[in-house]
């Protein structure tokens, strides 16, 4: 399956309607193709789906664990468990899931109709999923570090410090104003930046 054929099957794959053989070929290609991983994440970002999403349906809080389990079991069946690829796929899938959740937050009326509402459990669940992905990718980055130039490592660390500072500031503000959807969006944006940076840094350290 080449890139073009894979991209024609995005929707069917995400919907789970792809036949098994095609699904296996799809995942096999996706494992080794950063462009398609990115395109998949991009196509299923809120920008692509904004016109079709409902305005008031909350995303399921356990979306990511289900995806992770499904991916893990499929790969075990095929006997091809490869940690770096899994991490990359996990990051991409998490971005997709988080973007969908972010979209739903975004599509609510702004300013929030109910400013006194406590932060949703969805945001809490989303943060814990981002945190887990971030920890996994940080470990993978440590393994990749010897293959990166010292200057690159310094840049990555500097960028992570900037993101972490922004994340801390946004979370602190959200703690003071828990119902603020705009602040929740900024927290999600900072997490998204962090996971994406870690994924990219890990990818750079992969042998070609």
């Amino acid at each position: 399956m080449n890139c073009s054929e894979l991209r024609d099957r995005f929707d069917a794959y995400v919907a789970g309607t792809l036949p098994d053989a095609e699904s296996a070929a799809f995942e096999s290609h996706l494992d080794g193709c950063l462009a398609c991983q990115e395109a998949l994440a991009l196509q299923h970002r809120p920008l692509g789906a904004v016109g079709t999403l409902p305005r008031s349906v909350a995303p399921p809080a356990d979306l990511w664990p289900g995806i992770a389990r499904a991916l893990a079991s499929r790969r075990r069946l095929r006997g091809r468990v490869m940690l770096p690829a899994w991490l990359l796929a996990a990051a991409a899938e998490l971005l997709v899931a988080a973007s969908a959740a972010g979209t739903l937050l975004l599509l609510r009326r702004w300013p929030p109709v109910h400013p006194s509402v406590q932060p949703s459990s969805n945001l809490t669940a989303l943060e814990s999923q981002y945190s887990a992905a971030s920890a996994e990718l940080t470990r993978a980055l440590e393994q990749a570090r010897p293959r990166l130039a010292a200057g690159t490592v310094a840049t990555i660390e500097r960028s992570l410090r900037i993101i972490d500072a922004a994340l801390a500031e946004s979370r602190e503000a959200l703690a003071r104003d828990p119902g603020n959807q705009g602040l929740a969006q900024l927290v999600v944006a900072a997490w998204r930046q962090k996971v994406d940076l870690l994924r990219r840094a890990t990818e750079l350290g992969k042998a070609d």
């Binding site: 462009a35 920008l47 990166l148 922004a166 705009g182 969006q185 930046q193």
Partner: protein, 289 residues
């Protein structure tokens, strides 16, 4: 003294003597997938109207050049003992069919792409990336280098870090993000655009499709959008600790004094487009072009 001078000249000349010139060419399909790796130096790719790949350039001392492929795929690159070193670099000048799908990987090497109309993906650690053309898809990432894209591309996804992202003449769907680098969009006519940076600034000058969306998100960077004075759009603006200035003359609200810490929502014309700006402490300016 003379002996020293001769010895010094020999030392200086040695790397030049060891440079390996390359000149290779193979036939390939017009829509082939081509992968190019050159970690240090310069990779310049040009689209041409021939069903072949032609490579010229010079390979750094101690490095090896590989090149192969046929039909739908081709692969080439420079291999070095230590890929993390910035020097010495190699220069690859590659001509490929205009409709080819091209993937380029670099460390410190700069990447330049012109004249293609297919799909291009460029990944660099610290090199700059410059792409010109009418592409169906452009994906470019650099941790430190600047990203520069110009031309009417259908889908553009640019991810930077410390470097600046510059987009000229962008059409269609755009996603651009940086950590500390600025994002600058000029002469844009976007359908869906998502611009996001942590501490960099965002400057957009262009129009939004009547049913399109322009979303900008920063933590501390300022956002300046220059839009057509007659834009029909729904605006949602919010900066939690930064000023908001709306300078679309004749539209409501037309604020002379900056608003701070309060969300601003308003509609111009009949609505249609959706302009969203969210920042934690950056200033938001909505101005007319």
């Amino acid at each position: 003294m003379r002996r020293h001078l001769v010895a010094m000249l020999l030392v200086l000349a040695a790397p030049l003597a060891a440079q390996q010139k390359i000149e290779r060419r193979i036939a390939i399909a017009p829509d082939a997938s081509i992968r190019i790796t050159n970690m240090a130096g310069l990779t310049r790719i040009t689209g041409w109207d021939a069903d072949s790949i032609a490579v010229t350039g010079s390979v750094a001392p101690g490095a090896g050049f590989f090149f192969g492929g046929r039909g739908q795929v081709a692969k080439m690159g420079v291999e070095r003992r230590d890929e993390t070193l910035a020097e010495p670099g190699s220069t690859l000048e590659v001509k490929v069919p205009r409709g080819a799908r091209v993937f380029v990987k670099s460390g410190t090497a700069n990447i330049e792409v012109t004249g293609l109309r297919g799909e291009v993906e460029c990944v660099s650690v610290s090199g700059s990336i410059r792409v010109e053309g009418s592409l169906k898809l452009l994906i470019a990432e650099s941790m430190e280098g600047n990203l520069n894209a110009s031309g009417p591309m259908d889908v553009v996804q640019l991810k930077g870090g410390a470097g600046t992202i510059t987009l000229r003449g962008a059409r269609g769907d755009i996603m651009a993000s940086t950590v500390g680098g600025a994002i600058v969009v000029t002469d844009g006519a976007v359908v869906r655009a998502h611009l996001e940076t942590v501490s960099g600034t965002i400057a957009f000058d262009g129009s939004v499709d009547p049913r399109g969306t322009l979303e900008s998100v920063t933590h501390s960077g300022d956002v300046t959008l220059r839009l057509p004075p007659d834009i029909s759009a729904e605006f949602d603006l919010e900066s939690f600790d930064g000023a908001i200035v709306v300078g679309l003359a004749g539209k409501k609200p037309d604020r002379e004094k900056p608003l701070k810490g309060k969300p601003v929502s308003f509609v111009t014309g009949q609505g249609g487009s959706h302009v969203i700006v969210r920042s934690f402490k950056g200033e938001i300016r909505i101005l007319k072009r």
